[in-house]
């Protein structure tokens, strides 16, 4: 009986496994393998260089900047971004007036394409005609024309808030989980005299552990592949102030044609992703029962 069921399970999983191996696993193995070669792409010969690409990376200031920024964004996204999304979800869970409108409008930045969003932001922060500077000028600072994206002092925070504040996806996921918590638990708490705030802290939040853990994984790992918004706003500049590792990987592959070195960065990103998932799994005890 079980044998027959296993055959069916295998048969149904087979297409997914084949697609996964061909589209994902083979390229990943190829990326890791070629990261040990000097390979200038195209038809050029590959020569084995061992860990030279990895050693060179740590002498490379641009790589260090890209890695540092990426990891900083991973941490910020996994903490501040998820916290913001959770707080908004907890507030909306009480269904205040207009909660559906807030839920939908908070989702808008997640729904429009990254490139369109980047162009909107570039215009909002434009030093001459941008909304931000115009508002500041209206407040009485007539000659204010700060270049948010390209002044070395503000470039990094300006790029960071491009995605940090827009946690609509996190809010939606957590809100859905809150809605599925049985009402009877809250009724019991009411009878026991627990305030709304206490109910959120001692009932809702612990029950959200799994979904918050999942959200942290989604948010943190999304930063490991963040490319579009940085490329379309600052292109990593000024200098390397906003360079991310995926953007440096792109430049190395397609502008410098150094595919071996670029694949080394790809490997580093894969390793970072695995470490992130393991740490988050451990912290949130994902997959473990609450009991």
């Amino acid at each position: 009986m079980y044998k027959k069921r296993n055959i069916w399970i295998t048969l149904f999983l087979l297409p997914t496994i084949i697609i996964f191996v061909l589209i994902f696993a083979v390229p990943v193995v190829n990326v890791v393998y070629t990261s040990f070669f000097q390979w200038r792409g195209f038809k050029g010969a590959m020569s084995f260089v061992g860990i030279k690409n990895y050693v060179n990376a740590f002498k490379d200031a641009s790589f260090r900047s890209g890695l540092t920024h990426t990891m900083f964004w991973v941490v910020l996204q996994g903490t501040v971004h998820v916290a913001l999304g959770t707080i908004v979800a907890l507030l909306l869970a009480d269904r205040p007036k207009g909660w559906k409108f807030i839920r939908t409008s908070y989702m808008v930045p997640n729904m429009i394409s990254g490139s369109a969003f980047a162009i909107i932001l570039v215009n909002i922060f434009n030093p001459q005609i941008g909304l931000v500077n115009s508002v500041i000028r209206k407040l009485g600072f007539e000659n204010f024309n700060h270049n948010w994206y390209f002044d070395g002092r503000t470039a990094f925070p300006t790029v960071t808030i491009t995605w940090l504040l827009f946690a609509g996806l996190i809010t939606i996921l957590i809100l859905a989980e809150i809605m599925s918590i049985p009402k009877t638990i809250y009724e019991s708490a009411d009878i026991e005299g627990a305030t709304k705030f206490q109910q959120k802290i001692y009932i809702t939040l612990p029950l959200l552990r799994n979904v918050i853990g999942t959200c942290v994984i989604i948010a943190a790992t999304s930063m490991l592949k963040e490319f579009e918004l940085v490329y379309l706003t600052t292109k990593g500049g000024p200098g390397d102030r906003t360079l991310s590792l995926p953007l440096y990987l792109y430049k190395t592959a397609f502008i410098e044609n150094d595919y071996g070195y670029a694949n080394m960065m790809g490997t580093v990103l894969i390793i970072c992703g695995i470490i992130c998932i393991l740490i988050i799994n451990k912290l949130f005890g994902l997959g473990k029962s609450d009991t």
Partner: protein, 441 residues
């Protein structure tokens, strides 16, 4: 029971009928196709991605050329034009296709050095036998242009235009500041900037995004007119050492231009920002090529009467961008496609096409035999003036975008903001360029 048997028989008959009629149809189609093949050969398909689309100034010419080509050769050659807006996006796409050994039949290197990258890695179509077959076509290009696009004694590419690049100035704004005309020396140029600034006029349009095209034109000219050494530096392709006195001087002056003489949106701004500032009369000078001239009289881009306010000049100390250019090359993989693509290439670049482009958008023909007639001179005074001025140029040099390594051009773009904001010194800027240049083999 009887009804079931009848139903089954009917189903079988229906199935047989369907099979027979389907087979009949397909055999009929095959027969028809065979007849068609006998009477008419299928057109050969060639691929041609282009960035001269949308708002690009070359778009109307390319559209017209393709229309005329289809009219004439549509039965034998089918051209698939893939539109890729933005030249940088086009170059990136070509590199990706090149890495997959899947270049299209016709590639336009334009202002970028894609030719060497392609020639080093894939087999390109040698145009020499086609030129031998058609000397009239070969005569449409100067020997300097042909040599520039040849490698190992074989012709691989041809340009579709000449690009003498000077700068434009707004005569009305100059007059407001009490200036009479363009500067003859760089010292005079910077004095003019001061005068314009004192009169409340922003002197220069500049940019940093993409390749920082406009700013790069100012920089290249400051260096390229700095004596023989500076000029030689600017005429060197794929420079690896930027640590020269002339280049340092150029970068220092460029930093001053960013800090004192341009708009606040220049740092981080694209070519479009620089162009809009000039076209709306916010800035007094903009370095750019003759392809911008039609914009001056385009009511969608500039106010009415703007064209009359504009003058053209070569750079101070008699400098001008007028070096041979990279152009089209053919990357077809078989003779049949190569022949068809060369036919298209001829159509796009022969004397007739060059004249068409000149009349439609004022593109300067690469042919040494073509000269502007009186009508054209009268209708396109700025273009005629630019060509006239080009005879006075003492220093000629290529633009940075086509002459330097792509990663150095990218580094310029990301480091101009730091330079302009004063976050890095000119020497630090140079050190970074050297670092990038030396990553190339």
């Amino acid at each position: 029971m009887k009804r079931i048997i009848i139903k089954k028989i009917m189903a079988c008959l229906l199935l047989v009928f369907l099979i027979v009629s389907a087979a009949g149809c397909s055999s009929k189609e095959v027969a028809n196709n065979n007849n068609d093949k006998d009477s008419k050969k299928e057109p050969i398909t060639i691929t041609f991605p282009a960035f001269q689309v949308g708002v690009n100034s070359g778009a109307p010419v390319l559209k017209e050329n393709i229309r005329l080509f289809n009219e004439k050769y549509g039965d034998e050659i089918k051209v698939i034009v893939e539109e890729i807006p933005g030249d940088q996006a086009y170059v990136d796409k070509m590199k990706i296709l090149l890495s997959a050994d899947d270049l299209p039949d016709l590639v336009y290197a334009g202002g970028y050095n894609l030719l060497d990258l392609a020639a080093d890695n894939v087999e390109l179509v040698d145009l020499t036998p086609y030129f031998e077959e058609d000397p009239k076509w070969k005569a449409c290009f100067s020997e300097a242009d042909l040599q520039f696009n040849s490698r190992n004694g074989k012709y691989y590419g041809i340009p579709e235009e000449k690009q003498p690049v000077g700068y434009f100035y707004n005569k009305e704004l100059f007059a407001k500041a009490g200036l009479e005309g363009p500067a003859n020396t760089w010292d005079e140029f910077f004095n003019q900037c001061e005068t314009l600034k004192a009169a409340g006029i922003t002197p220069l349009s500049m940019d940093t995004a993409d390749s920082g095209w406009v700013s790069g034109l100012w920089l290249g000219s400051i260096v390229g007119t700095n004596g023989e050494v500076g000029n030689e530096f600017m005429n060197t392709y794929n420079v690896k050492d930027y640590d020269t006195e002339e280049f340092l001087e150029g970068i220092t002056k460029l930093q001053k231009m960013f800090k004192e003489y341009t708009t606040v949106d220049a740092i981080g701004g694209k070519y479009e920002n620089a162009a809009n500032n000039f076209l709306s009369g916010k800035t007094a000078m903009m370095a750019n090529g003759p392809w911008m001239i039609p914009d001056f009289s385009n009511p969608e881009k500039a106010p009415e009467g703007f064209a009359e306010k504009i003058g053209v000049a070569i750079y101070p100390d008699a400098g001008m961008y007028d070096a041979p250019m990279f152009g089209y090359f053919v990357a077809s993989k078989d003779k049949e496609h190569a022949d068809a693509t060369v036919k298209l290439l001829k159509f796009l670049t022969n004397e007739e096409a060059q004249l068409r482009a000149l009349n439609m958008i004022g593109r300067i023909p690469p042919s040494p035999q073509l000269e502007l007639d009186e009508d054209t001179k009268e209708n396109k005074p700025l273009l005629a003036k630019l060509i006239d001025l080009s005879h006075d140029a003492k220093y000629i040099y290529p633009n940075i975008q086509s002459a330097w390594y792509p990663n150095v051009v990218d580094r310029l773009s990301t480091d101009y903001p730091g330079l302009g904001m004063g976050d890095i010194t000119p020497q630090e800027f140079i050190d970074r360029l050297n670092e990038s240049a030396n990553k190339n083999e």
